[in-house]
């Protein structure tokens, strides 16, 4: 397996690692059995992602995907951040090996979960998102 230089850069020097003590949106996806957990912390102010941090247990591409996803939504409006797709994450990383595409899916899902977590706590309506069950099943054999 070979990672792109971008993946390696975000793995070796991950951006936005950490927790936000006063986060107002948190999204956690994955589980230790599958070998990947991503936890995304948002600090949303005036509909803008003011700050974002992550903690990830997982392989190189899981860490790089988390790092890239946080970069892609930082400073954006919630509406903008919501449009983040796993494809966008993978493309921004100059591609992921097919067997690792699920890492970008986890990143998308973690971001979506964190945004909805914020919306709940802010008394806003949840946004709908489609889970990528297909990729999960394919990769983890369910």
């Amino acid at each position: 397996m070979m990672y792109s230089e971008k993946v390696m850069d975000h793995f070796m020097h991950p951006r936005n690692v950490g927790e936000i003590p006063d986060a107002n949106g948190i999204g956690e996806v994955g589980n230790p059995v599958c070998g990947d957990i991503m936890k995304i912390y948002l600090k949303v102010e005036e509909n803008i992602v003011k700050d974002v941090k992550f903690n990830t247990f997982g392989c190189g591409s899981a860490i790089a995907s988390s790092s890239m996803a946080t970069e892609l939504i930082k400073g954006r409006t919630l509406e903008d951040a919501w449009t983040l797709t796993n494809k966008a994450v993978a493309e921004a990383l100059d591609g992921l090996p097919p067997i690792k595409m699920h890492c970008s899916v986890l990143a998308e899902e973690a971001v979506h979960k964190a945004i909805n977590d914020y919306r709940v706590s802010a008394g806003l309506q949840l946004w709908d998102y489609k889970e990528h069950d297909d990729i999960h099943a394919q990769v983890h054999g369910n």
Partner: protein, 396 residues
């Protein structure tokens, strides 16, 4: 990337030793005749193959005519299982193996299952040992073959092969052992251990990739896996990989002659590395300690972090390591071996295999012990599981 380069993945593959390559070279372009040809220049290649067959036979205490060369260890494994199963299916359709075999055995067994055979996969204990009594109880009147690996490629467990061989001989059941990790590293004696078939691969003991061998005890019924020309006394077709076979022969002779001293040296390094690694908090050794462990094998789990990221960071420091067997490292499945010794998935994901060999030095061990704790800390710092543990949300 640091300037150092520390290769600790000898169980995945080894380099070809200079003496071995030296002996191979003339067979590429000087003595290149097809060994099956009639003219005299071919007798050089015929003799070279015979010599190699003798060397292999000598290394495992077999007869020359019992050695058949193959294209890799996996081919030898597939041939042994499928060849014996199909040739003996009138006698029965039951095969016994273990849960910790290499995929070459496990997937060949699945193929046989989809073709009318029944396979019992024996469990192992917490150290990876097969229980000979349990094996004996698994034998039934349809059992035709037992296949138990000599030494495990991930956790280094050396199985009680002599006991298992004795049981099979007693019960008149054929016994195959995948000795790909054992040959050239620990003593193997097919007569003393009652082994009927044995697989080996040159690239695990400083020979070239792309050549292996299957020992088949005289008189055993086995179908061909590769049909065709009359090479290997009609049992394995294909123009012989003469240079590769010569390399295998030289490498096995060399490995056996150096085995005793090298084992002492490697097990010393191994035990020092294990002791050092056990100082990392929440680390655990997988596999047994002492003489029942391959001299060059270390396998640990480092909790709360994931194996691939450990390997990538080690790589950035010049250390080549593995998270399990090389041939599945592209896959996402957690190690079936570590699951079989009873570890939960989340711990299995944090496994690290360091395997040492000819080029490994004391300094290499020191270096790993110097860089690994920092890598573990760095990954734990990022890990939500570690944070939960610190907040005492996870018990260990």
């Amino acid at each position: 990337m640091s300037g150092r380069s520390v290769y600790l993945d000898y169980a995945a593959t080894t380099y070809v030793k200079p003496e071995v390559l030296q002996e191979m070279l003339p067979y590429f372009n000087v003595n290149f005749g097809n060994p099956s040809s009639l003219y005299s220049i071919s007798s050089v290649t015929q003799r070279a193959i015979d010599r190699s067959r003798e060397r292999v036979a000598g290394a495992i205490n077999a007869e020359r005519e019992e050695i058949y060369f193959t294209g890799c260890g996996s081919e030898a494994d597939n041939w042994a299982l499928k060849g014996v199963a199909f040739a003996n299916r009138r006698r029965g359709n039951h095969i016994i193996t273990t849960k910790i075999e290499h995929h070459a055995i496990l997937h060949a067994c699945e193929f046989l299952e989809s073709n009318g055979f029944e396979v019992t996969y024996l469990p192992v204990d917490q150290y990876g040992f097969v229980d000979p009594d349990e094996l004996e109880r698994a034998i039934n009147e349809r059992t035709i073959l037992v296949s138990v690996m000599f030494a495990n490629n991930e956790i280094g467990t050396i199985e009680p092969i002599r006991e298992i061989g004795a049981i099979c001989r007693n019960r008149k059941i054929l016994f195959h052992t995948d000795a790909v990790q054992a040959v050239g590293h620990v003593p193997v004696d097919v007569k003393d251990m009652n082994i009927d078939l044995l697989s080996l691969a040159a690239h695990k003991f400083y020979g070239p990739k792309g050549v292996g061998a299957l020992y088949i005890k005289k008189g055993i019924k086995i179908d061909n896996l590769i049909h065709g020309g009359g090479q290997e006394r009609g049992k394995r077709a294909g123009t012989e990989n003469v240079a590769g076979i010569v390399g295998l022969g030289k490498a096995i002779e060399l490995a056996v002659s150096e085995m005793e001293l090298e084992n002492l040296r490697l097990s010393g390094l191994r035990d020092r590395l294990i002791t050092g690694l056990m100082k990392i908090p929440h680390s655990r050794l997988n596999g047994p300690k002492g003489f029942s462990r391959l001299p060059g094998n270390v396998n640990v789990c480092l909790r709360f972090i994931e194996g691939e990221s450990i390997i990538l960071l080690l790589d950035s420091m010049g250390v080549c390591a593995s998270s399990g067997s090389a041939c599945t490292s592209g896959s996402l499945d957690p190690s079936h071996v570590l699951l079989a010794i009873g570890l939960p998935h989340e711990i299995v994901h944090g496994s690290l295999r360091l395997t040492m060999g000819s080029g490994t030095t004391d300094e290499d061990v020191d270096y790993v012990l110097e860089v690994l704790p920092g890598i573990v800390d760095r990954l734990r710092e990022m890990s939500p599981l570690w944070k939960e543990y610190l907040r005492e949300e996870i018990k260990v």
